[in-house]
Symmetry: C2
């Protein structure tokens, strides 16, 4: 069996990040952590699509500002979103004079980008890369389902697309103040488990998430309890329970430290989000808003983080195709945890 | 100024490829070179979208078969297309048990994938990667313009989306029978030159193509005449003349060896394709159908090849946004040309 874990020779450092969100995200438990919030969700733009692009622009601009880097220092930008032809990334980031790689992994885009950036940073020509991802509730609703004005009834297993963008700066060199380093990569395999209910993305993604984590545990001999947290992107309540069930069926039992960004991002006593949050902006903001500060200050030392994606479009559902899932995993370690090691 | 050319330490070898096409592609001057043709353009599928996905599946399956490789040997697949959410790649390739990276660079997807695969192949954990890309005239027409049944009048500068898919296998090791090796990479920067006419993609892409080639020539000190050909993806007639004009304005004059896949793929005395071919399948099939055999047999020794993309979606045009372009470049050299060198 082919090895699936890649240990990068150079462990990229996450130097900094910025997150942008909307009203409902502000009201969630991580609301205080966003760098920029517009409670109108509009960011002074005339269309939702332009608003989402603006969120990408603001997030990268702010991440550069916070880390004292310039756009001209970027060797590459890896960016993606849920809009057709990755348009939020393109129009949001076209003003940055850096090589641009459009990527698409649905809601797994954050860690797809981190894996690709980490691989690129192994080459001597690369020293600084950005990963940017976003989603917007109103662009996603009208593209995949109905315009929000329609007020369609939502299924109990459905999730609420996060209005949010996250930008991350990754460096090949350890630098003072880094939040975490990426010490292992496990790119996901797309898995079609036959789920056709587009209102139950959690069920579509859970098998792929389990496949990715099980591949990690099996190959590395580690267990969930060797980590502070094992984190999934946006399985939501429904998908998370299926994910744990799949782990259990495969011998990984009694997992106590699993968290899901989709289950964390909203205050569900205030917001009717059904099974939880979703969208590229879900993992895309929660990694920064919750986990990276904990890794930086040493309150957490090691986490496994896999953003999860449901691979479909509006036409594929209409044409009766099922929804494959995918989950790309990175192992994140506290910079503090590596002080005794050679961190090249 | 930051360096834009990356010289990979390991020069990936293009071990093999396969191309799939439709009726009009068969009738073109490269028609005989396709591995698989269905003159109905349908590939025995009930929708155009499913037909395009099937073309991706067939191309990768055939490329593996021709090179004697197994899908389980693939360390990664990099794939993209023009369909919303890269659906042709997802549904075409979900049956291959390999790590999957969805990418989007519009018609520049082929070389975006080759650059990312080349970077990944620098890591010890990677030895074999696939790059797959496709477009289908009927999926593109109904998604970006009108269903073909509508019979809309086409503008003289418009291009004809190629019905085609190409799959390429890249190896970190030189192997007998390789077609070419990738000896330099230059990832493109997205450039918005203010073109808003979605019937003139050539004009939208030409500035980005010129930017990429000019960056190469300026940084490396080489000139077009140092290559057998300098090749663009799908600028078409209109975009090609603008491209040469931009080169000229920047001191690269009298270029005699430029070719454009979009201008080559159709027999324009038989097919009314206006400015030429376009779509991910244009460069995606022409690199394999025309250039790689010439590099393998030593009739060409060095080419610069940049697939070109117009970054937009149907909504962005409706919302009045202009169309940024991008061009990702690879330098391809004949395996023969490297025999005297250390090819690690």
């Amino acid at each position: 069996m082919k090895k699936r874990i890649l240990i990068p020779e150079v462990s990229p450092a996450i130097l900094g990040f910025a997150t942008v969100g909307g009203k409902r995200e502000k009201e969630g438990p991580l609301g205080e952590a966003f760098d920029l919030i517009d409670t109108s969700d509009r960011f002074c733009k005339k269309t939702w699509e332009k608003a989402e692009a603006e969120m990408q622009r603001l997030s990268l601009c702010k991440a550069l500002e916070k880390t004292g880097k310039k756009a001209t220092e970027l060797d590459a930008v890896f960016a993606g979103d849920l809009i057709n032809q990755c348009a939020a990334s393109i129009f949001g980031l076209v003003s940055f004079p850096a090589p641009f790689f459009g990527i698409f992994g649905a809601c797994s885009t954050l860690t797809e980008g981190m894996i690709l950036a980490s691989l690129a940073l192994q080459s001597p020509g690369f020293s600084l890369a950005a990963v940017v991802t976003s989603s917007h509730n109103c662009t996603a609703e009208r593209q995949f389902r109905s315009p929000i004005e329609y007020g369609g009834q939502r299924s109990p297993t459905s999730q609420w697309t996060v209005t949010g963008a996250g930008a991350y700066l990754l460096s090949a060199r350890p630098e003072a103040g880094a939040f975490a380093r990426i010490t292992a990569l496990l790119p996901g395999i797309a898995l079609d488990s036959g789920v056709t209910d587009s209102s139950n993305m959690g069920a579509a993604m859970a098998p792929a998430a389990a496949d990715t984590f099980l591949a990690y545990f099996e190959e590395n001999g580690e267990r969930p309890e060797d980590f502070d947290r094992i984190v999934t992107g946006d399985l939501g309540e429904e998908g998370s329970s299926l994910f744990l069930e799949f782990l259990e069926q495969n011998g990984v039992r009694n997992v106590k430290n699993h968290e899901d960004c989709g289950a964390l991002i909203y205050d569900r006593t205030r917001a009717d989000v059904h099974s939880g949050g979703s969208g590229c902006g879900c993992a895309g903001t929660t990694l920064a808003n919750r986990y990276l500060p904990l890794l930086q200050n040493g309150k957490m030392r090691r986490i496994l983080f896999a953003a999860t994606g449901a691979l479909m479009n509006a036409a594929s559902v209409q044409q009766g195709l099922s929804i494959p899932g995918i989950a790309h995993l990175v192992r994140l370690e506290s910079p503090a945890a590596g002080k005794e090691e050679v961190w090249s």
